[in-house]
Amino acid sequence: MNWDLFPQFLATGLLTGGIYSLIALGLVLIYKSSRVFNFAQGHMLMVGAFVTWWFTDEFGWNVWLAFAAAIGVAVVMGLLIERLALRALIGQPILATIMMTLGLSQILQGGTIIGFGAMQRSLPQMFPLQPIILGDVRLKMNLVMAFGIAMLGFLLFVLFFRYTRWGLAMRAAAEDHQLARSVGLRVPRIFGLAWAIASVVATVGGVLLASISGVELNLSIVALKAFPAVLFGGLESIPGAIIGGLTVGLIENLVGGMPADPTIRSLHLAEVAPYVFMLIVLWFRPDGLFGLKRIERI
């Protein structure tokens, strides 16, 4: 065990976990409002990263401007997806919505390859290269900034849900669709809003991940690590998404970095640690930390 490196992996794990929790937030938002679990979240994230890259490459825009433009594209994409794909399936069994998002993920995958090519790209430098050094711990600047942006995003959403009219409407719709309709809320429009927000969140997460690892098709697989985070935190819980994301980031980095034995290191345990963790969660506490226990009657 590399105990002397422990603080380093702890810090890196928490910082990476911040990005996972942002991705997890997108999943929770859609699930809470429309009871759809979005298996295409990873692909939406990949598309967001590619769109940002495209704006910088095609028009030579500043990376932050491209980021803002990509967020605009994400809003449209989210609304379109809800309207064209999910609206028709309201009230259908859960299997249909799962298959729909899986189909969507394949369309986004193919579309990205045709539109942007399958090659790995890199975004222009977004953050200074100089690491922050705290004692023995070196924190890469892009990780720290990504974590900061992720947490800022969280704060914004918490404020949005607490203090704005639309946020309140979304919480009402999440509670009960029928009741929300009977007090005059337009539930389908709220679903659209949830998808638009989730798509924006995915784009932010995608660009943050891409600023660390580059823009590539694999981003959609990396984003799958948000699934264990969501399950651990509990499907309906926004604080759960944060805790879940941080936990998954920690587990991944500690399992990947701590063993000193080269034969264990050669196993690349970090790749599967989140999924083994997910199996354990499903086995012992399928509702997660803050999820709602489902009680069924015939």
Binding site: F39, I98, G103, Q106, G111, I114, L224, E271, I298
Partner: protein, 351 residues
């Protein structure tokens, strides 16, 4: 319920239960079987290669249909269970065991691994189970990529020699066609009959209402595990045949994307029908093949895009068709076929 012709009565219980019921159907069945096995003498290697691929998909999709269509459990791990079957077959063949003996063993091994990932179904269902099988999909290819690379060959995977039986070496697509199609026929018949037994009916009851099924005395856990075992068993057989077909296997062939395609085949074909997996596999495999064939033509029409990129049309077409089926025909091609047959028999009347 299929509409029967006038005068077509059941005269005994056995007759009522028979799948092939009257003389006309017997003639059709025999003609079809003969045509199926005479095909290699008339078709060229490329077409047979495609048919072989469709056959392998059919077996995997039949397994998934038992789990998804009859039991209502979502599995995102069918490709991973195929991976287990493939590697079992490859390792056994490398150890000098005949492929024909390794084939059922691969099915069994995959089935046992399937049981392992089916255990969480005791407490979870719906999309939680999709998550459990998703973790299978992530863990199993990782296992073959990184653990015991001396046995499993790591990233580059394994290569294996063509199988042999009684002096015949199964090397070309023509020669592979017979064992693959024979397995497909056996699998289709078995799956059709599983659905009609106590087991199949219990699985359908669990799908329709699991709590009610439990109260009627169906031990949910045990039946769900049986469904998982069967599903992974078929996947294992398909995987072993894939190892024989591809002759070079590596963990990247069994990706999450593949599992999604198998799910799509079940949905497009029609969930919970014996015909569904056949129609669904054939439809989507042909669609994929068509997109590969059309890519060079399309790249002439859109010169700014490369032909290689246009091969990505496959996933797009898949996604679009999956969506169209989910919205407009959730019961799949099999249901359309039934409706067509009924309309044909009632012609010229509408009802």
């Amino acid at each position: 319920m299929a509409i029967r012709l006038a005068g077509d009565f059941d005269t005994s219980y056995a007759h009522d239960m028979a799948i092939v019921r009257n003389r006309g159907q017997w003639v059709m069945t025999i003609v079809f079987i003969i045509a199926l096995f005479a095909a290699p003498f008339f078709l060229n290697g490329d077409v047979l290669g495609l048919l072989n691929l469709i056959g392998i998909s059919i077996i995997a999709v039949i397994g998934l249909n038992i789990l998804l269509g009859y039991t209502g459990q979502i599995s995102l791990g069918q490709a991973a269970f195929m991976c287990v079957g493939s590697y079992t077959a490859a390792v056994l063949v490398k150890a000098g065991i005949s492929f024909w003996f390794a084939l059922p063993i691969s099915g069994l091994t995959a089935g046992l691994v399937g049981l392992l990932f089916g255990i969480p179904s005791l407490r979870i269902k719906g999309f939680y189970l999709a998550m459990a099988t998703l973790s299978a999909q992530m863990i199993i290819p990782w296992f073959f990529r990184n653990v015991r690379t001396d046995i499993f060959g790591g990233m580059p995977g394994l290569k294996l020699p063509p199988p042999e039986l009684a002096g015949i070496v199964f090397n070309t697509q023509e020669e592979l066609y017979f064992p693959i199609m024979l397995t497909v026929v056996v699998c289709v018949i078995t799956a059709k009959n599983i659905a009609r037994t106590r087991l199949g009916r219990a699985l359908i009851a669990i799908r329709d209402n699991d709590l009610a099924a439990e109260l009627l005395g169906i031990a949910q856990f045990s039946y769900k595990l049986r469904a998982f075992f069967l599903s992974a068993f078929y996947a294992g057989l398909a995987g072993a045949l894939w190892a024989m077909y591809a002759r070079s296997i590596n963990p990247d062939q069994f990706s999450l994307g593949q599992s999604v395609w198998y799910l799509g085949m079940v949905v497009v074909g029609g969930m919970g029908s014996a015909l569904g997996p056949i129609l669904g596999s054939a439809f989507l495999r042909l669609l994929d093949e068509a997109s590969v064939q059309l890519a060079p033509m399309l790249s002439k029409a859109f010169p700014q895009l490369e032909a290689g990129l246009l091969a990505a049309m496959g996933p797009i077409l898949f996604g679009v068709f999956l969506m169209l089926f989910l919205v407009f025909e959730p019961r799949g091609l099999a249901h359309r076929w039934e409706m067509f047959k009924a309309a044909w028999r009632l012609r010229p009347f509408a009802h």
